[in-house]
């Protein structure tokens, strides 16, 4: 058979809650309960308020740069909901605050790094989430390594790794997908296709018809979903997590959504983004859709909405208070975390706050430990 087909692959698209707020109840069965949706919708409201407030903080000079999640709430929270808290692990990049909040991250921890403060990244290990990642794509490898460690230890935990459409163009993404697939690592790559990477439209990021098909290159399970659909995001993620937990290996999810805001507060999307495109996207705002669903089902009233918004304001207000009220870091912090133990020369820099030799106390140069021979002999003797 001289010309034969040796491989066939395909990508399915999943939508459960459509643009009009109508639910496919077959697909929805066993996914989110009414109470779930009410709860998640409230979280979406809080996150939206958080984004708007962060924007104002930046505009009033109290924050450097901030990337809003605005418009991506259903994708992010839906995925997060599919994890087992404190068991599964989230590796996010920088736009998934709602997922982190959902898993218990104090909200100020997201603000602080953008206010120029590393302390926001000092996450308690039991939260099972990694610090924000600025270098696009690099986190996909860390996530794969974490999942690998789980597998090696036979620990039934799964990693949810977020990445953007832009990140799929990095070499690291490719290497991570390849490692994960070879290792059958328990990981889900959740690609937020929000149509833009700063000013670069996703059709300029790849010539592939879908981002989801990129997973075929690694023989990896893949799906494309409506990312503004809370149900689809939850279901696709949950299925992938379960598959991973059961030894079925990694999965890829392309979640189609839209970045309603600028890339960050340092960006002005009007320079490159057609107004009509934004208009259309606003119509598809996941908050509108989720609310409509709840209201149509009689699960949500205008009153509840007003209360939820008020509550969101108050929560976010408090968070901003904490974040802006925090004492400036000690400038010792500049030094103290470079290594577990500072080498003598750095200790001198810390003590003197100088790098020029004349500013330093030469006696301090003798902070060094005992001569080598001595130490070696000790080590051999006591080792």
């Amino acid at each position: 058979m001289p010309l034969k087909t040796v491989y066939r692959g395909e990508v399915q698209y999943l939508q459960i809650l459509d643009e009009t707020g109508a639910l496919d109840s077959t697909l929805a069965s066993g996914t989110l309960t009414d109470v779930d949706v009410q709860l998640l919708y409230q979280q979406m409201i809080i996150c939206r308020e958080f984004d708007e407030t962060a924007f104002k903080l930046q505009r009033s000079g109290r924050m450097g740069t901030f990337p809003q999640n605005k418009g991506q709430e259903a994708a992010t929270i839906g995925a997060a909901r599919a994890l087992t808290k404190g068991v599964d692990y989230i590796v996010a990049y920088y736009r998934e605050a709602p997922a982190l909040f959902h898993h218990g991250l104090p909200m100020q921890n997201v603000l602080l790094p953008w206010m120029g403060d590393e302390r926001g990244n000092a996450l308690p290990q039991q939260l099972s989430m990694s610090p924000q990642c600025v270098a696009i794509g690099t986190q996909t490898l860390h996530a794969t390594g974490i999942a690998w460690a789980f597998k090696l230890r036979k620990d039934p935990r799964v990693v949810l790794c977020f990445l953007g459409d832009g990140a799929t163009s990095t070499g690291d993404f490719h290497e991570a997908m390849n490692f994960a697939s070879l290792l059958k690592a328990p990981i889900v790559f959740y690609c937020i296709n929000n149509q833009w990477a700063i000013s670069t439209a996703s059709r300029k990021q790849t010539a592939a018809e879908t981002f989801a098909q990129k997973a075929l290159a690694y023989g990896m399970s893949t799906i494309q979903i409506d990312g503004n659909d809370l149900f689809a995001s939850f279901k696709a993620t949950r299925d992938a997590i379960e598959r991973a937990r059961n030894g079925g290996g990694p999965s890829f999810i392309e979640s189609l959504t839209y970045r309603l805001g600028d890339h960050t507060t340092a960006d002005d999307a009007r320079r490159y983004r057609p107004a009509e495109e934004l208009e259309k996207a606003i119509q598809r705002d996941p908050l509108i859709r989720t609310r409509k669903y709840l209201q149509d089902k009689g699960l949500w009233s205008d009153e509840q909405q007003a209360k939820a918004e008020e509550r969101a304001k108050s929560i976010v207000h408090d968070v901003v208070g904490v974040a802006t009220g925090i004492e400036k870091p000690s400038s010792d912090d500049l030094f103290d975390y470079t290594y577990a133990q500072l080498p003598p020369s750095l200790e001198i820099q810390k003590q003197t706050r100088r790098t020029d030799s004349l500013g330093q106390d030469p006696t301090q140069v003798h902070l060094q430990p005992r001569p080598v021979e001595q130490q070696e002999r000790d080590a051999v003797a006591h080792g």
Partner: protein, 324 residues
């Protein structure tokens, strides 16, 4: 003559060179309609079209690697890396490929490309947007590295870089991008790579610096007592270093202070200090001082002022050097 800031000067220069030489093309992330995150390429895609001002995918190794191919095939690519912190993924293509193209082929293939990169701290940017990796590339034979700090010089050095037959990294100190304007000639002129500039003449001590630190040094000197005469040198080219200008000065002053943003250890200050010592040993009246970033990771911005050398640290060091 138009008065331009650093952004304006580079923008004008790119436009002029693209008009003059059709082999010149730009590529990078968000450089097209958006004009680059610092607007350095503003309007150029509109003027020269999306083929010559190409928005790449998010792919730094891709940007430099394809630029190498373009250059080998006779184009004059001017890729942009959005921030110095994202040169990392392109390090291999720069250091092991671009820099070695000529020598590996005994000149049969060359790699004339100019990599534009905003560099340095002080603008309250996020992590990886404030580093100073110039020493890394100075330790890479086959590359040239420049860092002009003023609009007029920037134009001349950019033209030298683009016309250079070898790969050049053109660092743009981002803290200076909008900090001041000066007259920039519209004519075509080049400023040679490999020459430092004496900014202030002086007799007591030589201060050598580059990039945005130039302005902190100027401030430091302004606040020195009147009877202290400081010679200030803007290195301008990181590699190859203009040791003549430096050594001539230090032979005169007998004292030297090197100032840079990057960490101390194995930074370019070490090279400058060693060269001074080698060339001016018998003239030196005090050890060469290095006023630099600390041997720590560049901190997030709440502490960046504590990290970067400031006029006070610089002048204290000059004083100590003079008092030695």
């Amino acid at each position: 003559m138009p008065k331009l800031d650093l952004v304006g000067a580079i923008n004008m220069t790119l436009a002029q060179e693209m008009a003059r030489d059709e082999r010149v093309m730009l590529l990078g992330e968000d450089i097209g309609l958006n004009g680059g995150v610092f607007r350095v390429t503003d309007g150029l895609q509109k003027r020269f079209g999306p083929e010559r001002v190409f928005d790449t995918p998010l792919s730094e190794s891709g940007i430099i690697g394809t630029s190498i191919g373009l250059a080998m095939a006779g184009m004059r690519p001017v890729p942009e890396i959005q921030f110095e912190g994202f040169m990392g993924p392109a390090y291999d293509q720069l250091v092991n490929q671009a820099a070695r193209c000529r020598t590996r082929t005994r000149g049969a293939f060359t790699c004339p490309l100019t990599v534009r990169v905003p560099v340095g701290g002080g603008i309250h940017a996020p992590e990886l947007h404030s580093d100073s990796p110039e020493a890394i590339y100075a330790h890479t034979p086959g590359l040239k590295v420049v860092m002009p700090s003023r609009p007029r010089i920037a134009k001349g050095m950019l033209l030298s870089a683009i016309r250079d037959p070898d790969p050049v990294i053109y660092f743009e100190p981002k803290r200076v991008y909008r900090s001041f304007r000066e007259e920039v000639p519209e004519e075509d002129y080049t400023v040679p790579i490999g020459q430092a500039e004496v900014i202030n003449e002086g007799t007591d001590v030589t201060v050598i610096t580059w990039g945005a630190m130039l302005f902190d040094c100027l401030q430091a000197i302004d606040h020195m007592p009147d009877n202290v005469s400081v010679e200030l040198i803007d290195l301008r080219t990181i590699s190859p270093i203009d040791v003549t200008t430096i050594a001539d000065s230090v032979r005169k002053t007998g004292r030297a202070v090197v100032v840079h943003e990057a960490p101390l250890t194995a930074g370019l200050g070490a090279e400058v200090s060693s060269l001074i010592q080698e060339h001016c040993f018998l003239y030196l009246e005090a050890p060469v001082q290095r006023v630099t970033g600390f041997d720590t990771v560049m901190p997030f911005y709440k502490l960046e002022k504590q990290y970067l050398p400031d006029p006070e640290r610089i002048s204290r060091s000059i004083e100590a050097c003079l008092a030695y």
